[in-house]
């Protein structure tokens, strides 16, 4: 469907009718009063039972055995922390009020339910319910619970219908400015390259040579110099960007763990580069290695996000550095790694990529340290761990891999500012 939603008939759903708690209490009062009247021979106890028994006399004799439910299911792709509406329509509820609510699955917050008043025609207007996924991932939403009640609330009919699973995408981190390389592949794009071309950004003025286009003659310079001069423009090129998402470790506070930051940072970076018509690929480095080669467009974004969130069932184990797929790493690509740098295989992979001549930049998302008590041994172990982490980062920096730390709170522009101000110079291979 155009808006990404699916409407489906849940069909006729069987209703399970039960006594309400109010009815059980009225029954207790009625029966208790009558029994007391019989045992004690005091008619006033029968009177004590009378109001309860009269109220029970309004019991609805005719109840629908089933209702028809139609669900306009939520979009298959939702973003964490965003409210997602969906609609439910009931028919055949007759003279019963229907209360609809979402019974949420874990990590889902449901909005308050809605009431569909009884309708004489038996056809009610659809109601809108909402839910909010609290964390990214492929997850259950929950089920829609419908409770039918009569006007005196003596009886309750209930039914439940499970909603389809959704892919909940991480909230993309903000990234307004991009990291650009000094050398870009010869493919038409939106970034101004150093090479002259047919772009719109002014590059300079040079002397006219036969074959140049006359419409580009710079008349001011020509008048000043006395010879024909020409305005030149920068070429506009596209970039190949490969994001490596290190999902091998998940440490830190839930909701702000390293895995959360990797997901959000990668999602934001992919969205930014795809919005400027660059070719973006993804390597998901987890228990299994999944990858998608660089490409452009909205469809590519969905493919990348599905891989990022759901992983792959048919990937390979990242047991060796050599297995990093060549097809996912086109020559001259900018490689942005989101990683806590805790997995030695990841560190070796970064080192290998640099040695193969790629421009690699690492966003360090490690924001926590191992918990330790205040004992001397624990303090020593903690210091050793910190020194090891510093050594890892130092060794990567020494071979020309910039490492910037991102806390997950600020936008990505802040730590990347030194690299977004000017292009990263790429040496000849």
């Amino acid at each position: 469907m155009p808006d990404g939603r699916a409407q489906f008939e849940a069909g006729r759903q069987q209703i399970r009718w039960t006594l309400s708690a109010h009815t059980r209490r009225l029954l207790t009062l009625g029966i208790g009063g009558l029994v007391a009247a019989v045992i004690t021979g005091r008619p006033e106890f029968a009177g004590l039972a009378a109001p309860a028994l009269l109220l029970l006399a309004t019991w609805p004799a005719r109840r629908p055995g089933s209702v028809n439910m139609r669900l306009v299911s939520p979009s298959q792709e939702v973003v964490e922390g965003e409210n997602v509406p969906f609609r439910v329509a009931l028919t055949g509820q007759e003279v019963f009020d229907a209360e609809l609510q979402l019974v949420p699955a874990p990590q889902i917050t449901a909005s308050p339910g809605a009431v569909v008043p009884a309708s004489a025609a038996g056809v009610a207007e659809p109601v809108q319910l909402e839910f909010r996924p609290e964390r990214w991932g492929r997850r259950r939403i929950g089920s829609v619970e419908v409770v039918l009640r009569d006007f005196a609330r003596l009886t309750e009919g209930s039914l439940q219908r499970e909603l389809p699973k959704v892919d909940c995408f991480p909230t993309p981190a903000r990234l307004d400015r991009q990291i650009l390389l000094s050398r870009m592949p010869s493919r038409l794009g939106e970034h101004s390259a150093r090479a002259p071309g047919d772009g719109s950004e002014f590059a300079g003025v040079r002397e006219f040579v036969p074959g140049d286009r006359q419409r580009r003659i710079n008349w001011a310079a020509t008048t000043r110099r006395g010879t024909l001069h020409l305005t030149t423009f920068a070429a506009e090129r596209t970039m190949n960007v490969v994001i490596i998402a290190d999902c091998s470790a998940d440490v830190g506070e839930p909701g702000h763990s390293t895995l959360d930051l990797v997901q959000r940072g990668a999602a934001g970076t992919m969205a930014t580069y795809l919005a400027s018509r660059d070719r973006v690929g993804l390597i998901r480095f987890g228990s299994q290695l999944g990858w998608i080669g660089p490409a452009q467009g909205r469809r590519q974004y969905r493919r990348l996000m599905e891989l990022l969130v759901g992983g792959t069932q048919f990937g390979e184990r990242p047991s060796a550095v050599a297995r990093l797929p060549r097809a996912a790493l086109p020559p001259g690509a900018l490689i942005i790694v989101f990683s806590p740098l805790l997995d030695p295989r990841m560190i070796e992979a970064v080192r290998d990529l640099r040695e193969r001549g790629f421009s690699v930049l690492v966003l360090d998302v490690l924001n926590s340290t191992p918990r330790h008590d205040k004992s001397a041994i624990s303090n020593l172990a903690s210091r050793l761990w910190q020194l090891e982490q510093q050594a890892i980062r130092f060794s990567l920096t020494e071979i020309g891999v910039p490492i910037v730390h991102w806390d997950g709170v600020a936008s990505l522009d802040e730590p990347l500012a030194p690299y977004t101000r000017r292009s990263i110079v790429v040496g000849r291979r």
Partner: protein, 217 residues
């Protein structure tokens, strides 16, 4: 402009299950119905127990059960507006104990136990018929207060049932009258009460007949 369907949730007479179950602050109105429940339960217990020294054997036990059931009924309706604890197998012992205790309060039908205890307490006394009649009205009010507190509904939902409630109280008055007739079997008072009973029966019958038309006006 067409009203959005979602706005229907704001029906003031609704007592949505969702509102009841969603975690969040307890509505201020809920405390009023809980307070009314507590007051009516206390009045019913005191009324059924008074005077305590005229009761037969077992009165004290019935009173203890009634008081305990009354307190736990109030606890139950209070907890109806409070979200459940998130307990897993890895929760600390005190959290699991608190959850078990709250489940004990929530799951057992304390209002039903209260009703039975009060009827037993009243039956163990040599009370006047009008005393039992007043207890009946107090118990009925208490049951409706429990219902409103538990469901979070507004008292206006009872408007549709007012004729039935009135008819029931009429029958209660009639039964109390019959009890007095049983005690006064001769003289002009007997004739007057019998006439009154017949009139009451006619009025009550007139209210009871259109049962099918109630509630949907």
């Amino acid at each position: 402009m067409k009203r959005p369907a979602g706005k229907r949730a704001s029906n003031p007479d609704s007592d949505t299950t969702a509102e009841r179950r969603q975690p969040g602050p307890v509505r201020s109105g809920a405390w009023r119905t809980v307070a009314a429940t507590a007051l009516l339960a206390a009045v019913s217990i005191i009324w059924a127990a008074y005077p305590l020294d005229t009761g037969r054997s077992g009165t004290k036990i019935a009173l203890i059960v009634a008081v305990a059931a009354g307190v736990l009924t109030i606890g139950q309706v209070t907890l109806a507006a409070v979200p459940r604890l998130q307990v897993s197998d890895f929760s600390p012992f005190y959290v699991r104990s608190a959850d078990w205790l709250l489940s004990f309060v929530r799951e057992i039908p304390w209002p039903e136990i209260l009703i039975v205890a009060l009827i037993v307490l009243e039956a163990l006394h040599h009370a006047q018929p009008w005393h039992t009649g007043v207890l009946g009205v107090a118990l009925l009010a208490c049951l409706f207060a429990v219902h409103l507190a538990e469901s979070g509904a507004r008292p206006s939902i009872l408007r549709a049932q007012l004729p039935v409630i009135a008819a029931g109280i009429g029958l209660l008055v009639l039964a109390v009258g019959v009890a007095y007739v049983h005690e006064v079997t001769t003289g002009p008072a007997y004739t007057a009460l019998r006439v009154l009973a017949v009139v009451s029966a006619v009025v009550v019958a007139g209210l009871v007949v259109p049962v099918g038309g109630w509630g949907r006006s």
